[in-house]
């Protein structure tokens, strides 16, 4: 049988959702039996591959790199899932939004703070510019299903993946969608 091609991606988030992913522990071996992880921050793959069956996206869209990757993911994945509260709502990553212009925030952090050298980190092609507002993934690309949670507990991720492997969308009722 053909292995399912599953990807996970990490945008503007703390990687906690991926930690929770790893918390699936031995079930990961079962997953490996039926699916290939074709892209993931926990696998050393540089380019997002084509022909992906489903991609779990952690994190909000906060900078130019996130934006580019999100669009690339959409173009190359049959199903895209918002994985965790940051992707679903912006969550902690979006807590800068009420503060307004990101440049001012960077100045407050890197210039005005007394223990800093007064420079905003800047390296073209390495440090991606921030977007004016942090947005949930579905405000950038079409999203097929949502797995809220900060992070989503391992059993919910497992349930979601099991559903995907069976060819259906993850459960979106009851405790399966509890935020926070």
């Amino acid at each position: 049988m053909k292995q399912a091609r599953i990807a996970t991606a990490w945008l503007g988030g703390c990687s906690g959702c991926h930690m929770s992913f790893l918390d699936m522990d031995e079930w990961l071996f079962e997953l490996a039996d039926v699916a290939d992880i074709v892209y993931s921050p926990i696998a050393d793959i540089k380019e997002f591959p084509s022909d992906v069956d489903a991609t779990l996206v952690e994190g909000a869209v906060a900078n130019e790199d996130n934006l580019e990757l999100a669009r690339d993911i959409r173009a190359k994945s049959r199903l895209v899932l918002s994985f965790g509260d940051c992707a679903v709502s912006g969550n902690v990553t979006a807590m800068r939004n009420p503060l307004g212009d990101p440049l001012q925030i960077l100045e407050a952090v890197y210039v005005d703070a007394p223990d800093r050298d007064g420079l905003i980190p800047n390296a073209a092609g390495i440090v991606p510019p921030l977007l004016p507002k942090v947005l949930p993934l579905h405000k950038i690309i079409r999203v097929d299903a949502f797995i809220p949670g900060c992070p989503p507990p391992a059993d919910r991720i497992q349930a979601a993946l099991e559903a995907l492997l069976e060819g259906v969308l993850p459960p979106n009722r009851g405790e399966a969608i509890r935020w926070g």
Partner: protein, 543 residues
Amino acid sequence: MAAPIDLHEVMEREREERFRTRWRVKACSSTACLSAGAGATIKAVEDLVEREDMALEVQVIPTGCMGLCSAGPLVRMMRRGGDESDYQKVTPEAAIEIVRSHVLDEQPVPEYELDVTMPFFTSQERVVLANGGVINPDRIESYVAHGGYQALEKALTTMKPKQVIEQIRLSRIRGRGGAGYPVASKWGLLASAPGKTKYVVANGDEGDPGAYMDRTIMEDDPHRVIEGIAIAAYATGASEAYIYVRAEYPRAIERLDRAIRVARRNRLLGRKILDTNFNLSVEVRIGAGAFVCGEETALLASIEGLRGTPRLRPPYPTEKGLWGAPTMINNVETLANIAPIIDRGGEWFASLGTEKSTGTKVFALAGDITNTGLIEVPMGTSLREIVADIGGGVPNGKEFKAAQTGGPSGGCIPAKFLDTSVDYDSLRELGSIMGSGGLIVMDEDVKMPDVAKYFMEFSMDESCGKCTPCRAGTVQMHSLLQRLTEGNGSKQDLRDLEHLCSVVRDTSLCGLGQAAPNPVISTLQYFRSEYEALIHEEEVVHA
């Protein structure tokens, strides 16, 4: 206690006064004409009369609205027992020329003459505005001379409260504030409500942008409103009344205040009115800039000195209103119709208009139309007649695109429905409402999504914030419309907008919220392609 006014004696005296001079100069001094400079025009005539010693020949009478606001200042020369000439755009210089020409040379001045045979004047049927351009609103005698307070006298001295309500029932008049609830039913509910203290409230919180019928009535014929309130109170057993006026109408407040004082002095208000056992006190209450206070329960909260947030109905105000007592709220234009109904009978009123929408309706005609101003037509007049004939059509060779009625709670009626009869039910069928009577004409250049956004911004700013769908839903609808009108909207945005229209319409607490989506719903219904043309091709395009 002073004796009450003797209406018949005042009438006699006024008739003599009317024939005292050979000429009467009536000058419209309503707000629109004053904005156009009527104050200086009137002053110029008064100075002329004094300077050239014409006081025995000419009397100057400032009057209420003559109707054609776009042609102001308006002046009417009236010859004793004879003909009248109407003039438009009368500057102080023109006024002097006109008065001198008439008085000294018996000659009209064609240059400024207003053609009163045009449909704007001939197609109207003035009931509510009958006194506009006729009486001096500052003089109760002037009102009485034209039949004022006769209806109150008739009701108090020859009719039982039940008979008064019966006439209202026969007239089949519906509320002029927007929803069109049968007036007699409301009166009946208050009349049968238990309790000693009952209130009548006149709703003069006319907030629809583009509507100024109620203001004109209150400014130009304040006693007509008071008389209507007094009859309503008599019929329903109320002994206290309030007139709630928006603070943006200082002249209306001033005139009503003065009219109330004068009416009290003349025993038309207060204790033992016209020597009967009927008592009524009336007080003006002032709004402070909140559209939502036009909603009747919010209005009551505001009269009580609270935040103007609507209350849950039921209980309806006729059960539990001001300070928990039974209260009836009628619109100012509704109340202005009461005296004529009692005077001439409910059947006469029902003979005007259509079967289900009787009487006349005052409209404020504005926007892309030749003749802007206040008009009064029988219910059921076609939109085409109002726009093309009375309004003189769309200027600058442009095409008529839509008529907006009902303000932020109404909708846009497209050209294909120009032959619609303007009445409560036909307008509702078209997805708009009668509203209080603002009628804004829009020409081909107006973009309908912009209009929808304009009204949504209005509703968003005016939301009281009590219920979630109106408070937060209007914000989201506005932001979706913003994105769409900027050309950044997606198909999903349009779907979300339509869904929110239903959510806000069906789940909001009060009429303001429930009606807030109407401008979007109606423009989507008739001008959907304009929205679709704005949509960005991609599914989601926020960044």
